[in-house]
């Protein structure tokens, strides 16, 4: 293994060089990262991730670095503490080289909602990288870092992973601590991981996962050594296939590629089982009620008093709150706060919020039923490959439908993994998604790794940082 300082220098130089064309980073910490890497090179005891350069989405707190969440309202905010996942990564020897661009407060599927400009897809810079963790997906896809962290509330790790051609995991709800992750929708949010290979995702999950007294929703479930399960036998594994998910709205090329993956699994000895998720078609409607309701409550804390931006020329307190929020939040965040406030307001609560929570129960039950007959379910991750910047910017509902295959996992709390499976005719990545029962990450890694071994995804985007020493 090369010295930490050399690996970190490579990542930082690549980030600095490529940021003009990709806009993936909002902050690059050259002096801090180099100092920590030289400390690691001098240390006698080396952690399991010693010298691993990582990029972190700008809604996860890293002490001393910014955490803007892609928003003007937190533009200059520097949190005074580390998120639990960051503390664990640092203790294992990983080095945060920078904070990545994202949709404002993780609300979006294209990264166009960042107050600091859109991130560009390294496969075609006129196209979106997906969102909301687009900067982290791009940092990995363009070879800047081997691993990045994001957050996934409705697909914000898996969908950009799919559009950029990398592996992306949303773990089981309660697997990772949310302490230090700026809250969007607390019952759906999980910190997720990007890497170019499954084994790197598995290794990092083993470091960050587990109970945390700072987050009461982390579950007391043992953390296995995830890399031990690779490569395991997949002969006899039962893979669920829901025909209804391959119908209207799904791009033909994506459907064909994912069906090819099903054939590969069959050849590898898996049994393909028909499953039904009868309420999956209601998932977007349920999601946009629950997520906006939780967001309207969580984002009430941004009031210009304790941190972040405050509007000037507001001589009275309430006026100050209103102007600060009006000037500090972008349009999508305001739209979602409005929707969330509406569905929670007197007279509408039962009709919308309670109804959505009832359908959420049905969606969870769909998964429990399906997993009685299979070990994992295969679906597309995104209905289309990366779309052009601007295409859906004025049509929020069309944008929301980009998440149709991913939101169910957040509503049910189950883990989901995107795995790249080829390129479209115009050289844009396509990915498939594996969904499993609660705590089935080892099984998902094993299935994904088996596919990766059979059909390695070795294509590289036109914008890719090549390490001359490798």
């Amino acid at each position: 293994m090369k010295p930490a300082s050399q690996r970190v220098e490579f990542s930082i130089s690549a980030a600095e060089k490529l940021n003009d064309s990709l806009n993936a980073f909002l902050e690059i910490d050259r002096p801090g990262a180099l100092e920590r890497s030289s400390d690691i090179d001098k240390a006698i005891e080396q952690g399991p991730l010693a010298g691993l350069p990582i990029a972190v989405k700008d809604n996860i707190c890293v002490r001393g670095m910014q955490a803007s969440c892609g928003s003007r309202i937190l533009g200059d905010y520097h949190p005074p503490y580390d998120a639990t996942v960051i503390e664990r990564l640092k203790n294992a020897g990983a080095i945060v080289i920078g904070k990545t661009n994202c949709d404002e407060f993780a609300m979006g599927s294209s990264n166009e909602n960042s107050a600091f400009g859109p991130v560009r897809n390294p496969w075609d810079t006129a196209r979106v990288p997906g969102g909301s963790s687009g900067g982290s997906a791009v940092a990995v896809a363009s070879g800047i870092v081997p691993v990045a962290l994001g957050s996934d509330t409705g697909g914000s790790v898996r969908q950009p992973a799919s559009l950029c051609g990398v592996v992306g995991l949303k773990p089981t709800y309660g697997r990772n601590s949310r302490y230090g992750l700026v809250a969007f929708a607390s019952s759906l949010d999980q910190v997720g991981i990007f890497a170019r290979e499954v084994k790197d995702v598995a290794q990092v999950l083993g470091v960050i996962a587990g109970r945390d007294l700072q987050d009461s929703t982390t579950a007391d479930v043992p953390v296995p050594n995830y890399t031990e399960f690779l490569p395991g036998e997949i002969k006899g594994a039962r893979l669920g296939y829901a025909k209804a998910l391959f119908g209207a709205g799904l791009d033909d090329e994506v459907a064909a590629k994912v069906n090819d993956v099903v054939d590969v699994y069959r050849e590898l000895g898996a049994e393909i089982v028909d499953v039904e998720l009868p309420h999956a078609k209601y998932a977007i409607a349920v999601y946009y009620i629950i997520a906006t309701a939780e967001a309207s409550s969580n984002l009430a804390r941004f009031d210009g008093v304790r941190y972040g931006f405050r509007a000037e020329d507001a001589p009275e307190l309430r006026q100050m709150y209103r102007r600060t929020r009006e000037e500090g939040f972008g349009p999508e965040v305001k739209r979602r706060i409005m929707l969330g406030t509406y569905v929670l307001s007197a007279g509408y609560y039962d009709a919308y919020y309670r109804k959505a929570q009832q359908v959420r129960t049905l969606i969870r039950k769909d998964f429990l039923d399906a997993f009685c007959s299979c070990d994992a379910i295969i679906t597309p991750t995104s209905p289309t490959p990366a779309f052009p910047i601007g295409e859906k910017a004025d049509d929020p509902l069309a944008m929301y439908l980009s998440d149709i295959y991913t939101v169910t996992a957040n509503l049910a709390g189950v883990p989901g993994l995107n795995v790249p499976c080829g390129l479209s005719a115009n050289r844009l990545p396509i990915g498939f998604q594996l969904l499993g029962p609660y705590w089935s990450e080892p099984k998902l890694f094993n299935l994904a790794h088996a596919y990766e071994q059979a059909k390695p995804f070795t294509e590289r985007p036109p914008i890719f940082a090549i390490d001359p020493t490798e």
């Binding site: 709800y173 509406y342 129960t361």
Partner: protein, 98 residues
Amino acid sequence: MPIQESDIQKVAQLAHLELAEEELKIFGPQMAEIVAYVEQLNELDTSSVEPALGGLTPEGERTDSSRNDIVRPSLGQVTALEEAPDAASGHFRVPKVL
């Protein structure tokens, strides 16, 4: 139920947002479209379905989330005020309330 402009104004007030005239014009129809879309949930009879509460798995629900009440160091006044837009004499300062 169609969303009226008066609904939008009321919601903006509840959400502490001072929306500009042009935002009210854009948000109205967009919210109406999204609300019309979510109304498809009414196709489902959920009269006997318990609402899901939170996102916990069964293992998460069983996890004892209480902890011992131990005194631990906290941020402290100086650090806690460092990011404030306006701090004075060890306090957060805000415009007049009344």
